[in-house]
């Protein structure tokens, strides 16, 4: 029986090694622990693949029509990151990562959801339902998802204005996102913040900041508070390659290093600061080295497993030794914001090239398929589900009312002291601040 199966499989190998900058390198541990799942298909696929490393198998189930659920299997799977980590002033973590079917499928779903959400936001902006600034994160999903996988909700995250997906990763809902973008009451900031000011304090997500670079000292401050309160938790302060040249970043890093704060500075290097390429903005675009005395790590930001590994390493490091810099090599498909077509300072070929070869969701899809953790149809179904979720949330958000006019005057202060505030015509519109 096994020989027949092997023969059948050999003739049906799909080509899962397309040319790429970052080749997938997979190996399976030869003696996986016994799985609690006794279905025939799973047992057969594991048997078949363990007999050869790097084998690419079409799942048996499609041949024998066995209905197999999406795997919730938490059996460890060992994989390698796309590229090894590059380290500065520290020893790089291993490129071997432990994951599981459950985790990979969660990654896939989360990233697909984020992707779909950002594309939908693009349409809403063009339909003029979203106003002002709208900075989209599609292409960079692996950073948000991988980071969240390495953290707990006790750890803090703070980022700049490209915050929709980071907010989702911290536990935000689609309705909160779309309602906020459209300026409705159900938004996470009740419509008063907008795209750049998402917050979720109960998950230790501190926004959402419009001033480039400001979030880095704020993040170091969060780390200070965690150390002061002996939280045994860390703060991840995200910034872009454009913000990496900000003076206040170095001021904050200096203080963090002096005071041993558990701060991790994460440079999401998508290679463009608005319309300015990194080589035109930074004399030294090796952002992971710019910490000088602080150690740094360069990470493939399109590989969610590498991101998770780096963040786990950084968290451990920061708790013991103070600040560390992570440079996530990533890419954004959209322009800087919805006002920027994104093609005047880079070629369309570059964008499609990255999309074909480095897309984070495609990477995970290939991993899942090659490890037979789900069928292509199942993954497509997930994508359909996710699309429906997004559409439903948008419909719900569109129905949601705009804030009451009285909201103009709420939350100016936490404690208003009964002070008076005024509208444009102060003889017409006055309010007492609660």
């Amino acid at each position: 029986m096994p020989t027949l199966l092997s023969a059948w499989f050999n003739s049906h190998q799909p080509n899962l090694h397309p040319p790429s900058f970052y080749s997938l390198s997979l190996f399976r541990s030869s003696h996986p622990p016994p799985s609690p799942n006794p279905t025939l298909a799973m047992a057969l696929s594991r048997f078949a693949s363990s007999s050869r490393s790097g084998s690419l198998l079409k799942p048996l189930s499609s041949a024998i029509s066995l209905r197999r659920p999406i795997s919730t299997d938490t059996t460890p799977i060992t994989l390698e990151t796309s590229v090894p980590f590059t380290a500065h002033q520290c020893e790089a973590p291993s490129r071997t990562v432990q994951t599981s079917a459950n985790e990979l499928l969660t990654f896939f779903r989360d990233m697909a959801l984020m992707r779909r959400m950002e594309i939908a936001a693009d349409s809403l902006y063009k339909a003029k339902l979203i106003r002002g600034f709208c900075h989209l994160y599609d292409g960079q999903e692996a950073v948000a998802v991988g980071m969240e996988a390495a953290l707990t909700k006790k750890d803090c995250i703070i980022t700049a204005y490209r915050d929709h997906c980071t907010f989702m990763a911290r536990g935000g809902t689609l309705l909160e996102v779309f309602a906020e973008l459209m300026g409705r009451q159900a938004g996470c900031s009740r419509g008063k913040g907008g795209s750049m000011h998402f917050y979720k304090k109960d998950s230790n997500f501190y926004g959402g900041h419009g001033i480039v670079g400001a979030q880095v000292p704020l993040g170091c401050g969060l780390a200070f508070a965690q150390k002061y309160s002996k939280d045994e938790a860390v703060t991840f302060a995200l910034y872009g390659d454009g913000a990496a040249n900000q003076g206040q970043l170095f001021e904050a890093l200096n203080i963090s290093a002096l005071w041993d704060l558990p701060a991790i500075l994460v440079c999401e290097n998508n290679h463009y600061g608005m319309g300015t390429a990194e080589w035109r903005a930074a004399k030294s675009p090796a952002y992971y080295k710019r910490g000088d005395y602080s150690p740094g790590l360069k990470v493939d930001g399109m590989d969610v497993l590498a991101v998770k590994q780096a963040c786990t390493f950084a968290k451990e490091h920061a708790l013991k030794n103070g600040p560390i810099i992570l440079e996530m090599d990533t890419y954004r498909y959209h322009g800087h914001s919805m006002s920027d077509p994104g093609s005047t300072y880079r070629t369309r070929d570059e964008i499609t090239g990255v999309r074909q070869e480095r897309d984070p969701i495609e990477r995970i899809r290939k991993l899942i398929l090659s490890h037979d953790l789900a069928t292509e149809k199942e993954l497509k179904d997930i994508e359909k589900e996710v699309r429906k979720e997004v559409d439903d949330a948008i419909a719900q958000a569109k129905e949601n009312p705009v804030p009451e006019s009285s909201e103009l005057f709420t939350n100016v202060y936490a404690k208003g002291l009964g002070v008076e505030s005024f509208g444009a015509d102060r003889k017409e519109v006055r309010a007492t601040l609660p």
């Binding site: 900031s189 926004g207 704020l218 508070a225 309160s229 206040q248 001021e251 709420t410 002291l417």
Partner: protein, 412 residues
Amino acid sequence: MGALRDCQVDARQTEDGTPLPPRASSIIELLFPFFFQKREKKSRGEKMLVVRKKMLGQSLLIRPAVSVLRSYSSSAKQMTVRDALNSALDEEMSADQKVFLMGEEVGEYQGAYKISKGLLEKYGPERVLDTPITEAGFAGIAVGAAYHGLKPVVEFMTFNFSMQAIDHIINSAAKSNYMSAGQMSVPIVFRGPNGAAAGVGAQHSQCYAAWYASCPGLKVLTPYSSEDARGLLKAAIRDPDPVVFLENELLYGESFSVSDEVLDSSFCLPIGKAKIERVGRDVTITAFSKMVGHALKAAEILEKDGIDAEVINLRSIRPLDRSTINASVRKTNRLITVEEGFPQHGVGAEICASVVEESFAYLDAPVERIAGADVPMPYAANLERLAVPQVEDIVRAAKRACYRSVPLAAAA
């Protein structure tokens, strides 16, 4: 309430720091004080003092009606503004573990102006933190700590240096509660000397009251006396919103009388309430910080010319106590605003606009503004004197408002 009984403090005397009347030395004096006291005509204003204080919820004590048989304390304790600030910081840090102090030289140097003297020894380097000379960095770090629930007190060596950190004060601190619809309150205090010192030149002499007070989401306080310093700093530290606390270097060494109530560790002044330092009926003079002293001196001079000035110590620039100011103007019908800072778009401009909007019909004369000269601060002593309001400027403006610039005899 025991404190109330033991002290008798008259508003005017306290603020000038002059001693109280001597203790009774015989039983006759005790029983019949009337015959022994210097009889001064009690102005309507003084009688109003009691009523006004009750109305405005002032914390200052009132002279008890029947005080003969009670024992007076000896002259109330004198305290410098420096000590007042130091004690306020000490008590608030002691009461709440989340309060910490951060700034240049606040620790080992004992404070650039010795405001934080002794605090490092008492609370340790985890809570009294010396920073490098990087205002943008450490102000941002402090705001981040406030996001996470701590209560930072950030010292700027002078508020001129706060301009390096002003993005964090305005965009990261003041606006966060609003932008997050109440999720992120920022219980931070930014404090330090503000305004002109003596001979420090243009870059070290600016007054920032008007700049910060224009920003919704901030509270801006300007203490004058030691009582103000203690009460307002305590209130600022306890307040859940970002507070800009503008001190004055030249006031640090000045002594004021403080009552036992002020010295109590629970003492606190309300934010947003001005104090009437001197009750009057002819003209209202508003001032804050060092200018309150100038205004009080001007009021004494004006009294000799028969002009009874009411001096309001604003204490709080944002929120501005518009009701106290307007009530006063409705009584006196004339207004002088005094401030040290640049005149254009200043605090006086806001007060004038507020009075014109709410009490126009009560004004008998145009509102007068006394402010710093519309120039960067010069160094030469004579020029510096011209650039900062002097007592005679306030006197002259008050006389103008009372249409008394020209002596009455000449007008006849």
